[in-house]
Symmetry: C2
Subunit: 254 residues, 2 copies
Amino acid sequence: MDTRDGIASIGTARCEAIGCAICAGIVGKTRAETSRPRRFRRFRKGETVLAEADEIGFVGNVVSGVLRMHKTLPDGRQVIVGLLLPADMFGRVFTHTSNVAIEAAIDATLCCFNRLQFEKLFERFPELEHRTVVSISHELDAAQDWMLLLATQSVIERVATFLLILSRRTGPHPAEAGMMRSVHVPVARRDMAAYLGTTVESISRSIQHMARSGVVRIIDPQNFVILDPRRLVELSGHTLEEFDLPAARLRRLG
Amino acid sequence: MDTRDGIASIGTARCEAIGCAICAGIVGKTRAETSRPRRFRRFRKGETVLAEADEIGFVGNVVSGVLRMHKTLPDGRQVIVGLLLPADMFGRVFTHTSNVAIEAAIDATLCCFNRLQFEKLFERFPELEHRTVVSISHELDAAQDWMLLLATQSVIERVATFLLILSRRTGPHPAEAGMMRSVHVPVARRDMAAYLGTTVESISRSIQHMARSGVVRIIDPQNFVILDPRRLVELSGHTLEEFDLPAARLRRLG
DNA sequence: CGAGGACTTGAGCCAGTTCAACTCATGTGG
DNA sequence: CCACATGAGTTGAACTGGCTCAAGTCCTCG
């Protein structure tokens, strides 16, 4: 089953640039044939993409911006079960109603497909369904990792882990030497707290503590420089390898 | 895409009885052709089915018994990220290494397929891949529900939720009237604690408290009778509907 | 019968929550 | 342009749910 030769991305430049899993999975001779069902949609910060228990009308992936998926208990307590960054898929195939609410955490552009049309594409592009399976699998992996974090880790460990994950996913590629890693947190404290299963106060104390002890420098509430990656990893309770940080390349920054 | 006419379960009586998602998804004229790659395997309580970071050699589903999936931090803290009951799928397609360790929580029989052979079946039986997508989606839903539980709920709420979920999944079908629901917890306190992100002591205190206040009756440490389903649901922080418990049918038992 | 494991119960302690006050940045209307 | 409101973030102080440690019971198994 070698399909690699047949694969040709038919996405726009933007979709190609971010490694859009969906568009890369669509194999077709003509651009027109395959790009018809796709539609770009913009959502402003705070707008709802899909409410909890909503009919799932469309699926797709994030082109720019950040989406947050959250769940709410009857009494109002809520948790963010995932942040979706560019290239991540959202929505669910073969599923009528959503298990989570999806909102734009900041202004976002989405590459959307009608769900039923998207499922129909599986017939012509089996590779697309395989990619969908892999995408959901990764989301499940992330959810299970997060369960470990929520069930066993202290607040400081959670914050450290969160910064390291963001650093790996969104940070500029690490220079060969130097390793001046800046981290941009794309959401406010409130969302961070809902994601990490704690309160804004505890988040604030953890971050200030890490700053006082020289592990990170606070540029502004949403931007940090990781001064000491090794110690940040120690604080996270994980190992260097889990964040793709080879020990050989790390050194302390002044 | 109407494949329903073509679907014929080729599983054994046992697979059919439990609604085995995989075997039901395999469409074939001859039993021999499709049942070849399948193999039943038995695992004794405590045996490892798949270790964390292991090569995923086979996938399949649970025929009888219970599997536990768990993750471990470098320092040894661990959490159970899921229990797999009969009819649940285990393993991961299109994935080389496992994100979780899988062990038999009690003696278990598994219906196993070589992973690569299983993926090959997708070509002939697209319905099988669809079912796989749905299966992973349900696992993701469960993981997200659990994140809500771990991030926001008190220990008593978690225990109540756990009992209600087990009651729905494994309990005898509720009589039209009476609703004498007995719940069998298929794992020991230690596993319950690891699943609910707490300690055996806290689990014990919660259960004893529910017994003292007349919500459940303790038959033995792993068997309970739900005396007051309504109050158990209240304790869980959820609503009746979330556990398929129509209010009209519930009444307090003496 | 003794050892070991599962479960329960008690008592003290602490991480993290809650509540409250304060700073600072942003925006709005007179 | 200032007065004021509003929201985000930080910091302090007190409280508490659940953890830790310790002891005890009960059951199973060799």
